[in-house]
């Protein structure tokens, strides 16, 4: 059984991004980039399934600029067997629908039994790609997974929903997106980083896959969110209660 794991290179989650002064986007030049945290969880889950002997091969995929190779090397250091980069120009605004179409083409080619993605990327916060891939490939989906139990022809997935948890059973092949509590991704070790350098990394272009990646949404403007007025520190609980009652009038 083969698993495909799409991973995205994003601005590191600890970085506080700044909006460019001309309002065309956020400034990501010279900012630390990392693998999207949800995708690390996806790679970890795929590797754990392989370590349990349920899976024979884990393929990591990334769509984007040449530097996404680093993200793929990280995935291989965690334990992915090989990687595919779908390389797109740096000036292209690559959107979830286009990525889903690229992944659909790879699913057709590689025929994985399972695709595990992160539930959302922390840059565009879209939360769409997994669902879109499932739709295009006509596969069942289980989003926001906090537990995955894989059997020969079915996968049982516990999902985080608004009021609690829900368990679904999907026939394979299927698409799963990970939530935070699915697992704790391992740290990559130096020997594994070295080994990952020797693993196979193929590069293809969207044209090779026959996919039109033109953006569908036009970003007109990116602005700073409205600033909150400066707050005050209060000396004690009595002062706080007084402020809440008489100034803010919220209690």
């Amino acid at each position: 059984m083969k698993i495909l794991v799409p991973v995205k290179r994003v601005v590191d989650y600890n970085v506080k991004v700044r909006v460019k002064s001309d309002n065309t986007g956020v400034d990501i030049a010279n900012v630390k980039m990392s693998m999207n945290p949800f995708d690390e969880i996806a790679v970890e889950e795929a590797v754990r399934l392989k370590e349990k002997g349920l899976v024979t091969e884990v393929i990591a995929v990334s769509c984007g600029v040449a530097q996404c190779q680093e993200t793929l090397r990280t995935a291989m250091a965690i334990g992915a067997d090989r990687a595919i980069l779908v390389e797109t120009p740096a000036d292209l605004d690559l959107q979830p629908l286009a990525v889903a179409k690229l992944l659909k083409a790879l699913v057709d080619k590689e025929q994985p039994s399972l695709v595990i993605l992160g539930k959302q990327a922390i840059d565009d916060d879209a939360n769409q790609t997994g669902q879109m891939l499932a739709a295009l490939a006509d596969l069942p989906q289980a989003t926001f997974a906090s537990k995955v139990v894989l059997a020969a022809d079915k996968v049982s997935v516990t999902r985080e929903i608004d009021g609690g948890l829900e368990t679904l059973s999907l026939s394979l092949p299927a698409v799963i997106t990970t939530d935070l509590r699915l697992n704790e991704p391992r740290y990559v070790t130096l020997p594994n980083i070295m080994k990952a350098k020797k693993k196979q990394l193929d590069t293809v272009k969207p044209e090779d896959l026959g996919v039109d990646v033109a953006p569908r949404l036009k970003t007109l403007k990116v602005a700073e969110p409205a600033k909150r007025g400066a707050g005050v520190k209060v000396a004690d609980v009595a002062a706080l209660v007084e402020k809440l009652k008489n100034e803010a009038k919220v209690i």
Binding site: K16, P96, Q128, T143, D162, L217, A223, G231, A248
Partner: protein
Amino acid sequence: MSVLVIAEHDNASIKGATLNTVTAAAACGGDVHVLVAGHNAGGAAQAAAQIAGVTKVIHADAAGLEHGLAENVAAQVLAIAGNYSHILFPATAGGKNVAPRVAAKLDVAQISDITKVVSADTFERPIYAGNAIATVQSGDATKVITVRTTGFDAAAATGGSAAVETTAAAADAGKSSYVGSEIAKSDRPELTAAKIIVSGGRALGSKEKFDEVITPLADKLGAAIGASRAAVDAGYAPNDLQVGQTGKIVAPQLYIAAGISGAIQHLAGMKDSKVIVAINKDPEAPIFSVADYGLEADLFTAVPELVKAL
């Protein structure tokens, strides 16, 4: 053309998120129709017909729609999608699950978590954990959108008198099935709809302390209880209470953050609250930068004192 809202419901009644989505739909222009796809969901369809501003309710009823499986609900939406210029879902776990599936089948981009309708094809949405607001324009024939409920007022739940029309239910795709669920029981107001929220973080130290310190304050204020990711990961609170970029997005009248440092990811979920109170020992905690009222104190003494003072 009309605008379609996909109702969030539990078959018997309509969930509050639907009401905010109706308001966003009205801002897109045109008649607002609501789809209630469920099983034995006549109650929910009747409730949807009462919502002010809704002109028609479309009710699809089949066993396969009972638990909102994405494959089946998406097929149901697609069956009627041709009649609509806009298809709106609340940005809840249910809406986020289905909307992209519908969009991909229609070959259109989906627009996530909108906070404002600028015009019928232009919308505002937060990106980078709410640290930037993008204005996006869609050239697609059908706009498939999820609506951040805290960005829009709720439509009145009564006062409408829409006709309920029954439509043929989509066939069960047969690729997925519902096994079971564990829904956390709570007598408190729903987190995303609460007027007041009391939230606890890692500083509480244990589940017992979390319950012992946070619950009395929430009881006193009639508030919902929230938690930071750190508190949830440590097991102090169940994960459906998590407030933040990857949990619930809330915007109550009053948000009290006790023992929460205020990481970017947490702020993304609560910084649109009207009044924010921070109680924290650490004067450097980033939460103080968004708090209207900050109290630098040990929460184990300050919170019980606050309960007493109210």
